[in-house]
Amino acid sequence: MEQILLECKNVGKRQGDFELKDINFQLPAGYIMGVIGRNGAGKSTLLNILLQGRNKGADIRLNGVSAEADVVGYREQIGFVLNETPFPLVFHGKNCGKVYGSYYKDFDYDKYLRLLENYGIDKKKRLKAMSKGEQIKQQLAFALATNAKLFVMDEPVGNLDPIFQRELQDILREIIQEEKASVIYVSHLVEEMELFTDYLLWLDKGEQKYFGTVEGLRDEYQMIETDLELSKLQNLQSRDKMEITSCIRSKRIGGAHQEYLVKCRAEDLPKELKDSARRAELKEIMDITGFGLTIMEENVSDIGRGVR
């Protein structure tokens, strides 16, 4: 059996108009979990709770350590890379390692310096003199030198060059290889997440819309391309277990054309649609699954006229 590394029960928080509520999930050791959602979905609120380990009424456990009972023991098992560096800007790399390394049991200072060198960062350079990308790399070197069990990455790639972005993926895969540590990866780049993460926590307006594997979520949705009108499709729907989530109508030269996103497993699709269906991509599922049926008109022939 796989060992559960991080367990979150009843996590939630009210902040003005916004409320994050009922977040519940279990992340096994040795996997990468992506957190997705639009701006304002609650990603940062959740991340702060997980990093701090403080949340009234919640039960958060990391590697068997309860955040409520032993917040120090909980926190020293988390390494993190944040969009904005948490270290004082007047510090240089060496200071950070000396001062903050002591918060972690078994902080490997030599490894930290070695990684800084690998990433091409002068250990005497002050953080305020570093580019955003360098600040990220410095945090990463620090995080990897801790013996953390959970690595939290908050939108880390925005300021990194494409080569290092790929390198980062390899680094994270390396972290989980031994099945002792896991990674929480927050990003709005859904395409990146699709290939790279094992589990997904999808937040929408403060609510947990999905937790499970990426594969599992994609199995639930199909994209259908057809000439059938919505009403015809709805007739099919009444006979089968298929829920139409959205419809994109395009009027092209030579007739109307529809694309539907439906919530339905491939094997449950009505016979008439089997040939025109494909597995929906994560981006497509996320983009349009709002509440209720969304209908979008896409007038392709207008664009053609404009050109003429």
């Binding site: 040795g30 996997y31 990468i32 993926q169 390899d170 895969r173 390396e174 989980i176 290889q177 099945e179 290939l195 790279f196 993460t197 094992d198 589990y199 594997t213 990426v214 594969e215 994609r218 040939d275 494909r278 597995r279």
Partner: protein, 122 residues
């Protein structure tokens, strides 16, 4: 093990792995009792998620083509090559039937299709 993944393809990645491992069995690159790379090392090598590779192995296990030894890993089971080849031919036949249907609808003659196939075959 030489497996190539196309991320932009409509075929799910786990299915691409399943298909290619089957091909390796049919052409005898993988033989009975041979060990497969671990789920995690294959994921690392192909730069895809662990869950995806895991799913591919689970599918193969369900079909009885590979088996796992706890604590050790996955191995190739006895492969009924003839059966798999038959299934492959059957799959092609099914696709051909659909294709012929499409040709008839589009008014393309048998002669035209033959020509097309001959040109494209190379």
């Amino acid at each position: 093990m030489n497996i190539k993944i196309q991320t932009k393809s409509g075929e799910p990645i786990y299915a691409q792995i399943v298909r290619q491992i089957k091909d390796l069995m049919i052409n005898n690159t993988l033989t009975k009792g041979e060990s497969l790379p671990s789920i995690r090392s294959l994921a690392m090598e192909l730069k895809i998620s662990v869950i995806t590779t895991k799913r591919a192995y689970e599918e193969l296990e369900k079909e009885g083509l590979i088996y796992s030894v706890p604590g050790k890993g996955f191995y190739v089971d006895s492969v009924d090559v003839q059966y798999m080849e038959e299934k492959k031919v059957q799959g092609v036949e099914e696709e051909l039937v659909q294709l012929i249907e499409k040709c008839k609808k589009a008014g393309i003659s048998l002669e035209e299709v033959k020509d097309m196939v001959e040109i494209l075959w190379e």
